[in-house]
Symmetry: D2
Subunit: 357 residues, 4 copies
């Protein structure tokens, strides 16, 4: 269950403080130019330590391609990538190895498996998302070849919500803010939380443009369903909305339907998806992240043998996981769309005839 | 892609106005008592025409089991169920067969497949959910055998949101209202929308209790991820939240973490899921449904050849799909949990030894 | 685990003496003309009772399409087909309900599931193959549209092996004999076995012509691997060979390699498959079937509680399952190839560009 | 399509002359002692250069575990293993980079993907099987914990077929010969083929003992079907037989059925499988390998642009791939059985109750 996707797939491995983490990307069509510099640059966007709003854990996140690429192009065979771990301060975790950190997966891993790699959360660490970003970069390369573009940014930090969505601006913002008028307030909210030994939640907007009509597989691998799983499966995500999302539930049909003209849809409340398939408009997804569960305040918890104790964390943690989460959202959307691009082929006989006749 | 689940699976078929619809449920452990009366009663809860808040289309929704049950018990072989369509007024759809109804899947089906069964939305009709409810009923029977119970109800209709969650009350409410103090207002909101030839959105709360710790498969078939896909994949769903959901994104870590005592978690903001696995508390999911796209007002649209026209619908439609949607939410949660119950077996060597030694 | 294939899939249900059996065929491209007469004719080729060399159980095997076809064409939605059982003489099985018939699946079903539908073998009956043939017929229709043709015939009955492979002749032979010079001897071998209250094994040759180069997915869904599973999974199959098969193991490389000229391969010892992918030559598969385990002689066996007893069968059984098995071999090969046709799409960027640009 | 198995899965990557090859093994139950020495010893059994009957390519085949093991035990997270390539003489392949070697996958890879890594066959090289053996070693560790044991040996080389099956003897034989009386003749057959710049085929017998009754999933993931795919998917395999295999097709039912006594089956012609499930007897599989396609004689072939030419190979190749293939057969059988052990859990309610109550 460490494989994501059905035809364009990513299988990942690795723990926060183990030897290495990485992935095997399978289903990549042969003949795609694999730009290693781009893959590394995507990892660099995700890696921690770029500003004082992020954990100070320093990871070079240097990726190596082990297979599947020959003379700069994909060969159709699986592309394996590995990132060796460097800055492993396992000692930091000695104090927590016998207790369950509130809000973390310690409790559930322990109960499910009867064993856990307690160093930095092991497999449940957000560090695992580096593998997703590497795989997502390859998906982006494939999607780029047919004009699909994916972008993201921070919509809200805590209760500070931006009003406009400037994805270009977000690219240079240290917190990926979509609205420059709210950026300062959002940064302050993060700083304040951190200074108070606390953390804070945030919301990410992710969009895809240039998406052909008809991507998404009814009935049980709909585009919106797959995006919901992709986003909800990111560490700390607690809610996913498509288009108007939860707000749609408060509206009338006459307000929520997108009328159609000969120029296309007159609005995009649907978020680019109808009946589980892309309708040609921008795909719009909002992902809500809870605050980082690692906080530097005393919290009630229990040990593995059930004794009550106090959890006092040390270590290095992002005060707001949503910020770097936005890069992961892009990767997950790219993986979903790449899979849907492949799966859609063969939806009608016309496709079969184009390829085989 | 008409199969849901990985080990406890449901494969469905059928169009709104075709011959029949149904499903094959696979992976059901042998020896489960299959209570056909219960399956039928679940279908009866979902079927339309029970009140004047629902479409008047009358469907007996009489289910027949074709296989997989012998002398009242499951045999481990696939259980096929079929529901023949009865009240097919295909004529109602003649006027829409060449145009795309706003908010519907007509446009995307046509573009993806180059052909569509326009009668009642064909495969994209909410009628398909009858098959899900039948399969979900079998999942509920299996879950019941180990003490897992699933319930749902209406949290909000449009902007009318209840404050309390009384799942027992919801069972007898015609709109499955969770808060009897808001039920009248919610009914009025539906009635008013209908009388104004419009429709209205709504939100459904679904919970599971008695869930063992550790259900859910990291990394890419997490319990929350799978529930998100399950719920978002229901017709008209536009947002899914786990536990506090979107609200978590506005909180501090110190507010959002659930402390742990020797009695268990001191709160359940997580909605019963940590690290993608059940933590033993109630699983809590909120699903937001857009208003029924079928409204009886004139709407701008285009025909298959791109000409602008006016869409004027006739026919029979629920003014608020969320109401009957709640039954489907229960079915989908049951299917996810049944799958996770099976998949979790073998997570540790202790399981292997219990079965094979 | 009652689903076969990955993209072009068949999910089957049904027991020998249950209400009905059938299948859901998913992944069929939209716009394929669904010739119901052809599907029925394939079922008629498989159905028993056509000659006195087959069981006298009379099954109309009348198939009904329940979904997925609109105005004569596939719509891209799942095609469900059902065949109701008619000639159910369950009484015949009363004498065997508490014992395990040698060579049958009774013993393993009972041990795995703790329950079994003993009537006619239940799910393990060869009757289940009717569903495969129905699904295979749709696969054949799709393959036919791009020039792929599948044929089969009987190579050997017991030790009587034909020398030539005349697939046209096999079509009109009551035992699907490939070599008319051996047909009589083969018929006699069957008749003799039957008259001696015994049964006899046989071998089936199945070929596909017109197969494009490159079908088959390395590494673990190779064309030869998938065909091996498909054929070995047919009731009573005990060996599968590709091309020269087991004989290849006795040869030198200089004898076994197929040289290549500008006109193509100079021989076809490979059976049309290299590296798990079709090479453009005819795909050649031999499937060996054991003799029908149901024989009308006394056999040692035990009852469910372990007591030794004698098994004396009544009922109606083919003396040689290989004969009707040949029709099932065709269906399975068609299903594999249809799946591979779909899966191969997207193997190179050129495909992506053909569909999306 | 580089993933094998459904619950206990192996996903592999790597080319013959690329940077590295390896695998991710997923679904391993937590708490299994991972004996790295054993894994390495399995790789050492497979690695080339142990005798002058094998390619002289020297590969240390030194495996490193990158994840999924903590303090010597599996944690339930994916176990990644990597083997870096060392002895890469890519120059050897310059002469073949533009032509298709007869009997090899060059032709099909080129046609399917439009690009190929010609160095040593790239992905299609038997070198890929090192990853399978590493994964298979973990499967063996898990199976060993419940008493399942897998062994293999050479039954025949060319036409020299042994009469007895001494698996203990095979372990110390340089060609894994099962019958010491035929070992010398078999070795001579290999030596002669090699000295004549040719190669030779061979047949491998693989057995599993201690297998619980009921492993295997009807209908389309039967134990025999899965084993057939597993074995046929090994490089150069051309035929797979279960139990008596092809010989069964020549027998009468009265000869082929295994009678049952209170002591168990009185014979094992079925090869331990009935109805696609293990019956408690030894699982017996014969796999037939064609001769190594790489021979050092001139062969007719064509270049990528279709021109006729002569293929004259250099390099280092096993004269008989069946010999080292036997180790791969063990690995594949182990992977299939490990998967079936996990999948079988939940086949009856009794299992559910054992784990969850």
């Amino acid at each position: 269950m460490n494989t994501f996707g059905k035809k364009f797939t990513m299988t990942t491995f690795g723990e926060s403080h183990g030897v290495a983490l990485g992935c095997i990307v399978d289903g990549v069509p042969a003949g795609l130019t694999i730009d290693e510099t781009f893959i590394q640059s995507e990892l660099d966007r995700r890696k921690p330590g770029k500003s004082n709003l992020e954990t100070k854990r320093k990871e070079g996140d240097k990726v190596s391609i082990l297979s599947g690429v020959f003379e700069g192009k994909s060969t159709g065979t699986p592309i394996a990538m590995v990132i060796y771990n460097e800055d492993q301060k396992s000692k930091d975790y000695d104090s927590v190895k016998d207790l369950f950190r509130p809000g973390h997966a310690d409790f559930t891993y322990w109960n499910k498996y009867g064993i856990r790699d307690y160093r930095g959360g092991g497999r449940s660490s957000a560090r695992e998302t580096a593998a997703r970003v590497a795989a997502g970069a390859i998906a982006k390369l494939m999607l780029g070849a047919i004009g699909i573009n994916i972008q993201s940014g921070i919509k809200a930090i805590g209760e500070i919500e931006g009003k406009t969505n400037d994805f270009e601006y977000a690219k240079s913002s240290p917190i990926h803010a979509l609205d420059k008028n709210y950026e300062d307030k959002q940064i302050k909210a993060v700083t304040l939380a951190r200074d108070e030994h606390d953390s804070i939640g945030g919301s990410v907007l992710t969009i895809a443009t240039g998406v052909p009509i008809g991507l998404g597989q009814p009935m049980y691998y709909k585009l919106d369903g797959a995006l919901a799983e992709a986003m909800m499966g990111i560490n700390a995500a607690k809610a996913v909305e498509i288009g108007e999302g939860a707000k749609s539930a408060t509206l009338r049909g006459s307000q929520n339907n997108d009328p159609i003209s000969s120029q296309g849809f007159e609005s995009n409340k649907a978020g680019g998806i109808l009946g589980g398939m892309s309708n040609g408009d921008a795909i719009i997804v909002t992902t809500h992240f809870k605050p980082t569960p690692s906080i530097f305040q005393e919290q009630h918890t229990i040990t593995k043998d059930g004794t009550e104790t106090i959890c006092s964390l040390k270590g290095r943690h992002d005060p707001c996981v949503a910020i770097r989460g936005s890069i992961v959202c892009e990767a997950m959307m790219a993986l979903v769309l790449a899979d849907m691009v492949l799966l859609n082929m063969g939806s009608k006989m016309e496709h079969i005839e184009k390829i085989y006749r």
